[in-house]
């Protein structure tokens, strides 16, 4: 029970976020209207994605230093969770975009860079599928993981120079703060980031445990 306190915290946080997100008070804004609630569901997905991909990178480096196969399991599963969050972020973003920008997928540096990140990590999964030997797969895909993450960061840094962004806080747009001038969203937004991220960690730990069990079963 002591070890599982954070799972209870996750459930509590997400119930709070869902209730407050769907019926709580939000600022009235032109164009945004009620879609502003998507802040709790869309933006948090991107936070989660970046956090998970970074964790995946950390475990990839750890694997290369230690050659411990569980580090590679964690790296792969965090990358998969990152992809899942990225895809959900895409869907919620397209919903939001069609309501406010009049186009689900406009040409926008953040959308493009997220798409490229997805491509790179899909390639990572394909690469993992190409090997039979566990250690070999781990070593080679960890290398690609590190390479992909660094290039992804370079990309995030370059793209805003090429096109303007529609997203708040980019390309001369004001940050999201101005829509939430009386700070009613922050008390829900920050717990939402924590809640969704913890949920992702929970999913990942379950999958890592499953993989470990699979390995044990196949050893017998």
């Amino acid at each position: 029970m002591k070890k599982n306190w954070w799972k209870i915290l996750t459930v509590v946080l997400l119930i709070y976020v869902l209730v407050m997100g769907l019926v709580g008070r939000v600022p009235r804004q032109p164009i945004l209207n009620e879609t502003v609630r998507n802040l709790y569901f869309h933006v948090t997905m991107w936070f989660g994605m970046v956090i998970f991909l970074f964790t995946s990178l950390v475990y990839a480096i750890k694997y290369l230093r230690s050659s411990n196969i569980t580090d590679d399991d964690k790296s792969a599963e965090f990358a998969k969770t990152g992809i899942l969050f990225g895809l959900i972020g895409y869907v919620t973003g397209a919903l939001w975009g069609s309501a406010t920008w009049g186009d689900p997928l406009p040409k926008d540096p953040k959308i493009i860079s997220a798409a490229i990140a997805m491509l790179a990590y899909f390639a990572y999964l394909v690469l993992r599928g190409a090997f039979e030997d566990e250690q070999k797969r781990a070593r080679i895909s960890s290398t690609y993981n590190i390479f992909a993450f660094v290039i992804f960061n370079v990309l995030i840094w370059i793209l805003p120079r090429l096109t303007d962004s529609l997203h708040p806080g980019n390309g001369g747009n004001p940050g999201f703060k101005i829509y939430d001038s009386d700070n009613v969203m922050k008390p829900v937004f920050y717990p939402a980031i924590a809640g969704w991220t913890l949920l992702g960690v929970w999913i990942t730990t379950l999958r890592v445990r499953m993989k470990n069990l699979d390995r044990k079963v196949s050893e017998y």
Binding site: A120, A130, F131, F147, I158
Partner: protein, 240 residues
């Protein structure tokens, strides 16, 4: 086996600076000799560029007015991208397992990756300059500042070569590495491609040098990052 050779170790590298440099020189020379001996591969790649350009020429021939400078530029870089992926994919694939083991006993992984990168840079430069010549010949030449455009070609081919060399090393470890090479490299090459297309576009419009400085610096920075990463990561690939 000397363990320090296997991982990235700045102390080892600086102490054996001349030794590594010598190894690099020998390895590059070996690559060039090998390439020259089996010239069909080199000729094949040159023919690949030329025939791709020719296909583009024929496809656009009916409606020449559709070929605006932007299309001209983008098409050229896409041809170069595919040429690079095809040419560099074989840089590790052609090595036999036994021969790799032989190199392993002879030289440090850093020397091998540096020599491959330098060799691929030279190869890409030759291919892209030939490709550019032929492209201009058949598709017309809307370039405003030729020297700037050549700079972008040089920076682009060096960048493509350095990024793709490590990806080729990764792909060569898998069985069917032809398809894998394209999948793995396209997402990673995009930042560089975007930057280089922008630089080339500026050269087409003959913009002032000051407008290009930013792009050139960013391209050089990406190159530096990629080469540094290759140096650090290649020893881990090498060991398997």
């Amino acid at each position: 086996m000397n363990n320090r050779k296997e991982t990235f170790d700045p102390v080892y590298l600086s102490a054996n600076y001349f030794k590594v440099l010598n190894e690099v020189k020998t390895l590059i020379w070996k690559e060039i000799t090998l390439e020259w001996r089996q010239r069909y591969a080199l000729n094949g790649m040159l023919l690949y560029v030329v025939s791709t350009v020719f296909v583009c020429y024929l496809s656009f021939n009916l409606q020449r007015n559709l070929l605006t400078p932007i299309v001209w530029n983008t098409l050229f870089w896409i041809i170069l991208l595919f040429t690079a992926v095809n040419a560099i994919a074989k840089s590790f694939a052609q090595e036999r397992y036994g021969r790799l083991l032989y190199y392993y006993t002879l030289s440090s992984p850093q020397a091998i990756i540096i020599s491959k990168i330098i060799y691929n840079c030279l190869l890409m430069l030759a291919l892209s300059i030939t490709g550019f010549g032929f492209y201009v010949l058949v598709m017309g030449n809307p370039v405003g500042s030729l020297s700037m455009y050549l700079t972008s070609i040089i920076l682009g081919s060096v960048g493509f070569a350095s990024t793709l060399t490590l990806v080729a090393a990764i792909a060569s470890k898998a069985e069917n590495n032809g398809a894998l090479m394209a999948i793995l490299s396209f997402p990673l090459i995009i930042p560089m491609l975007l930057m280089v297309i922008k630089l080339a576009k500026n050269a087409l419009d003959n913009l002032d040098m000051s407008a290009n400085q930013d792009e050139i610096l960013v391209l050089l920075a990406i190159d530096a990052i990629v080469v540094a990463l290759s140096l650090v990561l290649f020893p881990y690939l090498w060991r398997s």
